[in-house]
């Protein structure tokens, strides 16, 4: 009896919090189809007008494209580097190994504002102009810990005796990696890539310091927050991107679960 009551209370709490977590998101959906430009109640009329206007809003679409380019590039780089460090971490033993792995996961704990200004100093000292490249480099650095952890946990699940068997059968190590190890960790690599993609696509704290004349979507969104009448268009795009991100996350999750 007591147990039942506790269960009901916990369930109520869970669903209450779920409601609270989804309320603002639902609100954004609502305002993206609200005919009034001001984000307040009461809702006047439902319209898809903002979505229509979105496709004429060049700067908005360009910022989304910039984010896409940066996320694609940085997630690929982070996946390749993460795979390399995973293999070094679990299939080799060498001096300075823990230093390398430590450096690779360090961005997880360095405050983004610190990393952002440090990279800003580096690029200005080397007289490299800020661009999508500089944002992409920063995103690769912060995505590396995620790709490393995802790929390494998959690689750790395989006994190296499989590789030894391949090598006993005459394969050299590069062939063994290509034909045995990479296929085994491939699902984790896809999952890592998609995770790195979402990390980059949504990233704002670093991009604000490092984007030059081409803003990524979060940076552009931030610059437009002051102009109230543009907000519904931004929200409309944000809603579309949110749906896109969720699809990517679900695909990543499916790949990660393909373990057993």
């Amino acid at each position: 009896m007591n147990q039942r009551r506790g269960s009901v209370m916990l369930g109520t709490y869970y669903f209450g919090l779920i409601l609270l977590l989804y309320l603002p998101i639902a609100l954004l959906f609502l305002f993206s189809v609200n005919s009034s430009a001001s984000l307040s109640f009461p809702i006047r009329q439902l319209t898809l007008n903002w979505y229509q206007q979105l496709f004429d809003a060049d700067a908005v679409l360009r910022s989304a494209r910039n984010s896409l380019v940066v996320a694609l590039g940085s997630s690929l780089a982070a996946t390749v580097l993460g795979t390399m460090v995973s293999i070094l971490m679990l299939r080799y033993k060498f001096r300075g190994q823990s230093v390398l792995v430590g450096l690779a996961v360090l961005p997880l704990i360095v405050p983004y504002v610190v990393l952002g200004v440090a990279l800003l100093i580096l690029f200005s000292a080397l007289q490299i102009d800020r661009s999508l490249w500089t944002v992409g480099i920063a995103h690769t650095v912060v995505a590396l810990p995620y790709t490393l952890l995802i790929i390494a946990s998959r690689l750790a699940g395989f006994d190296a005796s499989i590789e030894e068997a391949a090598m006993d059968l005459g394969a050299d190590y590069p062939t063994t990696l290509r034909r045995v190890v990479l296929p085994l960790i491939f699902p984790a690599m896809v999952s890592a890539w998609l995770t790195a993609f979402t990390v980059s696509f949504d990233e704002f704290a670093l991009a604000l310091f490092l984007s030059g004349t081409q803003p990524t979507f979060p940076v552009y969104l931030f610059s437009q927050l002051r102009f109230a009448n543009r907000l519904p268009i931004m929200i409309a795009l944000a809603v579309l991107l949110m749906i896109g991100t969720l699809i990517v996350v679900f695909i990543a999750e499916r790949f990660r679960r393909r373990e057993a």
């Binding site: 293999i87 440090a118 200005s124 927050l225 999750e253």
Partner: protein, 311 residues
Amino acid sequence: MTAPTPSPALPFFSRKKGEGDRRSGGGWDRRATFWLIYLPPLFWLIVFLVLPVLFMALFSFRPDMRGNLFQSWTPTFDQYINVASTGSYWRLLGISALTAFAIGLSAVVFAYPLAYFLVFHAGTRTAFYLVLLLIPFWTSYLLRIMAWKILLGTEGVINSFLIYVGLIQDPLPALLYNRTAVILTLIYVWIPFAALPIFAALQRIDPALFEAAADLGARPFHQFVRVTLPMSAPGVLAAFFMVFIPTVGEYVTPLLVGGSRGFLYGNIIQDFFTKAANWPLGSALSMIMLAATLILVLLAARLINWRQLFE
């Protein structure tokens, strides 16, 4: 009920010495592969992680912004002396740490019942409920914060609703642009994330312990206080640090919902690199923040057995 089977040991963490030696030797192909996959990440991390921090450290000893980094200048402690003698920086660092502490604590308190529900009361739907909880975390950060702005603003949802039902005549300005708004927003953002390590810790508890406690006459409350809570303590600590550490350096949320009254330490760093353009002073402030964070992380690393928690 079955006891959870111990996770298989990671094969390479428990490698014996002799085996490891054989592995690292290998033929020329293994050595060639080593350099091929060793040099790119090493280069990357040195150029884009070690070097920037080094440059920042150098910058913090500069007297001013003049000249580029490679021109010689006389190293000076001026920036650090400036920081040390300015009470408001320390006060803001303290406030930021306290704010992050409060946020970490609240997020853990709010997340614990969630994790408890998921592990012990969600039955077969645990996985589904967990995903449901995490989806908001995967939606755009800036967007969720903006949604709070819409909720809390003077013409926002809460105010316009309260005026609509006639509870108030004038909008409550106190809802936005202060530290409370920052704290509320960040707690909201972190709750699902904080539930994860607690969830992991609760799942690891051997159900036989509950049976033993019940057999020995422990009432549900005592069972929770004497068995469940202590057994989940590592997860609680992990959750706290996983929220606390990124929050100390937070500058985006204060920028969006805090206004100048809600600024945190990260915001003065950002200001010195953008508006005020005093990079040497900003670098000194950054170095202090970095040092403080690393000390906290070392503390967390000593308190928590992370590997056991996430195995």
